[in-house]
Subunit: 126 residues, 4 copies
């Protein structure tokens, strides 16, 4: 599902403005925000916890809740990065470059193993 | 901390391309991605678990790990939205509009209570 | 799978002794322990994240890791209760009594809905 | 805080009976239970998210909620172990024995570093 185009920095700024208007910066320490993010991830999990790998994965009557909870996780992640001094766009680019080195296409196509696990049928290096 | 400008849809597309090149779409069901996201949130938590509300919040020698882990959470969140049919930009805008209604500035300035909790000193409506 | 018999208070005492011997009480604030618990839950999630509802649910070569990680979650949960003034045995009994009232057998047999959701086919009371 | 004495296997059995009476075994796959556990951990996090390292750590008016949520985490952890073939008492003993080897008292007293991190002032082996 494509996302509507929007500058990621603009999203950060809107989150910051929402907090500033309410004088909430005092509550927005990294650990507070991390615990709040975990609370939102828990709400995401509650939506799909009892249904196994059903199809559709998200029950039709929970689709708006699901989108709302993902938005809450995004909001807290953006705020957590902002308040802990992380340029999240740059961090994303940096981490993806690392992932390209750890998971070269020719070795990991169709495999879900971790980069330090051997392919099935190879002896483990460990 | 300002984020480098980048279209959020462009981030989604790069995550999708990374997965497609490796034929990982088969593993990227919503519940798989959610459990992977929880694994990454756990790694974020491990960085700051033992230190209380220290200053700086993120130890100097863990700053790159911290940024990397936040980037991993973003990557999985973007992929989870994509694979569960959520336009995350639109969901963010929609949820923020709801939050503006639930948390009007004049009633919630400087308060960390939930929208359905009474201000200190008021009787609870429940 | 039955558990080997052991007094739950004895488990709490052994966890406390392990921490005391290492003078770790200084690190064991409730929020530190909660973040550590979340780190361990993340490691549990990593073991089963990519495999959908496979059978067996836990891959044969990950069974010891799985048991170890569940043990880590138990250890931190016990320590968290201990350090935040909760008699976890009593809290368990108290919560189960509440759950028996919220989920009477005759209304919830075979249903995974929440206690405040209507059965399928009934109009919602909300 | 000491726990009321109770056999841990007896707790497992009571959780299993509660589920059996409601015919809930069908929902209690390991990944379903893990996602439910994460939901409960999220509720624990919500109680202390905004308050930093306050004293008391748990607000007085949230003490019963706190105990209830910890009990929910215990219930789901016990059920998760049961349904994934783990003797949680034995796993606890086994993991604690490993931890005694990884964290010898004389080297880790008063230190919160991980077992594979060097003490402050020593060169890292990595």
């Amino acid at each position: 599902m494509a996302f509507t185009q929007r500058d990621f920095e603009d999203i950060r700024r809107e989150v910051a403005q929402f907090a500033d208007e309410r004088d909430w910066e005092q509550f927005h320490s990294p650990r507070n925000l991390l615990l709040a993010l975990i609370g939102e991830v828990g709400e995401v999990a509650e939506i799909v916890r009892w249904q196994g790998d059903s199809d559709p994965a998200i029950p039709a009557d929970k689709r708006e809740d699901w989108a709302d909870e993902l938005a809450d996780v995004l909001t807290l992640l953006v705020r957590l990065a902002d308040r802990s001094g992380v340029d999240l766009t740059a961090a994303f680019a940096h981490k993806l470059a690392k992932a390209r080195l750890k998971y070269p296409v020719e070795r990991f196509r169709g495999s879900n193993r971790k980069y330090d696990e051997p392919p099935a049928g190879e002896a483990s290096p460990r």
